[in-house]
Amino acid sequence: MAVKTYIEAIREGMDEEMARDPSVFLIGEDVGQRGGVFLASDGLYKKYGEDRVIDSPLAESCIVGVAIGAAVNGMRPIAEIQFADFIAPAMNQIIEEAARFCYRTAGDFNLPMVIRAPWGGGVHGALYHSQSIEATFSHIPGLKVVAPGTPADAKGLLKAAVRDPDPVLFLEHKRAYRLVKGEVPDGDGVVPIGKAEIKREGKDLSLIAYGLMLTYCLEVAEKLAADGVSAEVLDLRTIKPIDQAAILATAKKTGKVLVVHEDNRFAGIAAEVSAIIMENAFDALDAPVMRLTGPDVPAMPFNHVLEDAFMPNAEKILAKAKELAAY
């Protein structure tokens, strides 16, 4: 085990999968010679050549559509969308095509493909380099959506995504890239898609999160502990299919749940988690499930005052958790 950054873990994950399976290739804008704008694929172009690390034209529908076709014909593409904010030109290919190939052919076709997208804010990225897209894509049946919060999970889930028979949207938090470090197991540590993980045990209340928010929730749990409140932290890791059993287990255990995400609130993941608990653990609740989310504002502004006002952080989560604890 060695300590690695989140982005190193992802790069290693891609590298190992490409070495393992010659049908794995990478396609996206600037992924080749430039190594990606975040350097996620740094070195892979040299190592695997331009047939397996393809600098695409500036056209997201093309990137995804071509990946679909390649997956049909026996390859396992990893398509990189440079920023999650630029995934919309590819939505027709993702939502109407990739997500429906298996269903519309009653299983005759399936698409083993990964769409990687750096996502989330707190990086002075302004309205178009900060967006969260998980609710939009999780709502779509046929897609799997993964949003790791730690380097180990990032690497393990990336491997799982590459090997998965279905299209997986793999969300990489931009602020986590270099901020979040952690031990990454040596060897082929595949983390299963669809399994949440309790990252900290607790009994008074539950914090449910994913991506960068996991880091903040763990910080908050530490602070709450100092106040004598024992917080359990559940890391969803996979958003779709969601781990309903894990959500209900923690809800029933603590009776108090706070769901945290950066994405806009309306019909977001927190709403779904809340509704799941409502339907299946209503009687176990000691307080309403609470949500701490990005506001319903188009995205995070560039100005730092406004960006801070948008972004959930440890301080805001702590305040909300205290409110929940006191309910």
């Binding site: 056209a59 559509g65 076709g69 095509e97």
Partner: protein, 345 residues
């Protein structure tokens, strides 16, 4: 611009198919597939008008463009990414009248989708027919991707994709042609230009005469061909296939043609097309025209015609009966195959 047809007719004369390297048998198979496509389609309209099935979308009038181009490919080895009119293409690639009718009646056994998609939404991994959804022009990018994979594995398969001139207005069409050209992919883009996107005439879809002229903007050849002349279509497709297999990249073939029916059974084309226009094009029926050629060249005789007609009649009857009685899916199947978990039932 002189169409390819005129050239070919000038060149080949009475034995055009032989001078194109087609045996009589091949030439007749092409004829039979066109006729089968037409016959299945006509039967579907009949059944639809009787209220026994909710929806038809037709190949009628475009069989020449479809079978002519498809015949230049190697079924099962090459790939096609067709669109909803391409009965001629998929029948050439190995689908059967039964398959067509199973899809038409949306039965469980429908090979395209298990009764999930509307008719015309073809797909079969075994037959190398890429599954199509309804959004137009997405399949052009899929074709580029299929061809990219072939190139990556250094295989010589060619991928042909088919679309209407309406689909050519979509951004995906641009992105696919551009990508295929950059990587010199073995893709053939076949635009079946029937002059309308539902009701919208070509003049409202583009300010140019030929979709084929766009190919120059991507750096590969574009050819206009008389889509109602099956041999002309075969010839340009064969050239395109050779080019593609050589690794020289894509070709755009624009087959000028016409649809004889309304857009679909939900449409009323009298709202936007003159009866005279339809009548003029019916005179140019690709099947009649090819039959005439085959007769004149001595390839098609009365007994052979008779045999073909009987075979088709029998297939269509059988397919209709089989499919109409075939079981529906069960309600439990609704939630299957959202993901690739299970083997096909």
């Amino acid at each position: 611009m002189a169409t390819k047809t005129q050239e070919v007719e000038a060149k080949g004369g009475q034995s055009r198919h032989r001078s194109l390297g087609l045996t009589d048998d091949q030439a007749l198979r092409m004829y039979e597939v066109m006729r089968l496509a037409r016959a299945v389609d006509e039967r579907m309209w009949l059944i639809n008008r009787q209220g026994r099935a909710p929806f038809v979308i037709s190949c009628q009038g475009q069989e020449g463009a479809q079978v002519g181009t498809a015949a230049a490919l190697r079924p099962g080895h090459d790939w096609v990414a067709p669109y909803y009119r391409d009965a001629g293409v998929v029948l050439w690639f190995g689908m059967t009248a039964r398959d067509q009718m199973l899809s038409f009646f949306a039965r469980r056994e429908d090979p395209n989708s298990g009764g999930r998609q509307m008719p015309g939404h073809y797909g079969s991994k075994r037959l190398h027919i890429v599954t199509g959804g309804s959004p137009v022009a997405t399949q052009l990018l899929h074709a580029a991707g299929v061809a990219l994979a072939s190139k990556q594995r250094k295989e010589d398969a060619v991928t042909a994709t088919f679309f209407g001139e309406g689909g050519a207005s979509q951004g995906d069409c641009h992105e696919a042609m551009n990508f295929a050209s950059i990587h010199k992919l073995a893709v053939i883009f076949v635009c079946e230009n029937n002059g309308y996107a539902i009701s919208v005439p070509q003049s409202h879809q583009m300010a140019i005469q030929n979709v084929a002229d766009r190919a120059a903007g991507y750096g590969f050849p574009g050819v206009v061909v008389d889509g109602n002349d099956i041999l002309a279509c075969y010839e340009v497709a064969r050239t395109a296939v050779e080019r593609a297999r050589r690794g020289d990249g894509p070709t755009l073939i624009e087959a000028k043609t016409y649809r004889f029916t309304a857009h679909s059974s939900d449409d009323d084309d009298r709202r936007y097309r003159q009866a005279e226009e339809v009548a003029i094009w019916r005179q140019k029926d690709p099947i009649q025209r090819y039959a005439k050629y085959l007769r004149e060249s001595g390839t098609l005789t009365d007994p052979v015609e008779q045999e073909i007609s009987e075979r088709i009649e029998q297939q269509v009857d059988d397919a209709t009966e089989y499919a109409e009685q075939a079981p529906d899916p069960t309600p439990e199947e609704l939630t299957k195959f959202v993901y690739k978990q299970e083997p096909r039932p």
